[in-house]
């Protein structure tokens, strides 16, 4: 039976799709058969981040409307064994996702996969609610910035009241993923610290992804950043995947890198 995990945030542009791509790739790399679904109907982007945009033939809505089979719509990732992508529809409106339709697709996927990652659209509208409704676990992607933290709290409220588990009187397992973290700015008290965000949202920390040039480079190339093993962001995502799988891994990249003597002398950043 597959585990359904939603990657959500409320606010846009905080790194939901980047995180969905990285985490699903990470899970597949550890040998778990994983499918990542783009719920952002009308504004599909996961395909670009995963580098399979030219291989999209059928999409999620086609499958719901029975215009294509799941087998036809699933895109097999070329880099990572055991990873599949179900792209969002580009043309339809967001009302195309129905409860019954989504549930039927998830039930069918659950037979074959270990993990189903739902990449939520921004906002708290139907698409976002649909992405989180069936989830057993939620990764709440948050930037250390006021509007993002506030929106994350809103989404946590929705998870606690409008998800299927909440309706059954149970609760969705919540994880905080802090992205675009800049330790230098935290050190000079210009940015909320991990501890600050943890204190406000009061949910367990899954990982902290440092602000990194590698993320843009990865999206430029259409290769999930977790594959860039030399980058701090890639390593931080890899740690987060380990924690998601229940391993106890120490958090890294929380402190500002000490500048070397030469760097200080030359004034390099």
């Amino acid at each position: 039976m597959a585990k359904i995990i939603v990657v959500t945030s409320g606010k846009g542009g905080v790194g939901k799709t980047t995180s969905s791509a990285a985490i699903s790739t990470g899970l597949a790399l550890r040998g778990h058969k994983t499918v990542v679904i783009d719920f952002d109907v009308g504004l599909r982007n996961l395909d670009l981040i995963m580098g399979c945009e030219r291989r999209v033939v059928y999409d999620f809505v086609n499958v719901i409307n029975k215009e294509a089979s799941l087998k036809q719509a699933l895109i097999k990732d070329k880099r990572t064994e055991g990873l599949f992508i179900l792209p969002a529809s580009q043309t339809r409106d967001k009302d195309a996702l129905t409860h019954e339709g989504v549930e039927a697709v998830l039930d069918e996927l659950a037979k074959d996969f270990d993990y189903i990652i739902c990449d939520s659209p921004a906002g708290i509208e139907q698409g976002a609610q649909m992405a989180l409704y069936f989830a057993e676990e939620a990764i709440v992607v948050t930037n250390p910035e006021v509007s993002s933290v506030r929106d994350s709290d809103r989404i946590l409220g929705i998870l606690q009241s409008k998800s299927r588990l909440a309706e059954q009187g149970k609760s969705v397992k919540e994880h905080l993923l802090l992205t675009r973290y800049n330790p230098a700015r935290v050190a000079s008290a210009e940015m909320l610290s991990v501890a600050d965000v943890e204190e406000i949202l009061a949910i367990p920390l899954l990982g902290v992804i440092p602000e990194s040039e590698a993320v843009l480079k990865a999206s430029n190339q259409g290769a999930p950043v977790i594959l860039d093993e030399d980058s701090e962001a890639g390593q931080a995502y890899s740690d987060a995947v380990s924690r998601l799988l229940g391993e106890d891994v120490e958090h890294r990249f929380l402190e500002q890198q000490k500048k070397g003597f030469l760097q200080r002398l030359l004034g390099g950043k």
Partner: protein
């Protein structure tokens, strides 16, 4: 320049991060307290206020409407502070 910067920073009353944290704690606490309420509550509060105003002159903050859920029973609590009779 470096030393000046350092001294100036030390004298600042509070960092922008701590301002952000304080503002967030207040707004998040407020929003959590209204969470789970039905959407009609603010409008209903407004209409109740208008009915009372027909008879007594009161302010918005003299009426408080609260909805409590206990098991399968919801209690709507209405608190109105009336001004002293003249």
């Amino acid at each position: 320049m470096g030393i000046l910067d350092y001294l100036l920073k030390k004298n600042k009353p509070s960092s922008s991060a701590s301002v952000a944290k304080e503002r967030l704690q207040i707004i998040v606490a407020h929003e959590r307290s209204t969470r789970g309420q039905p959407d009609y509550l603010p409008l209903m509060q407004q209409e109740i206020l208008e009915v009372i105003r027909k008879y007594v002159d009161i302010d918005q903050d003299q009426v408080s409407v609260q909805l409590d859920n206990e098991d399968d029973c919801s209690v709507l609590e209405l608190n109105i502070t009336l001004p002293d009779a003249k």
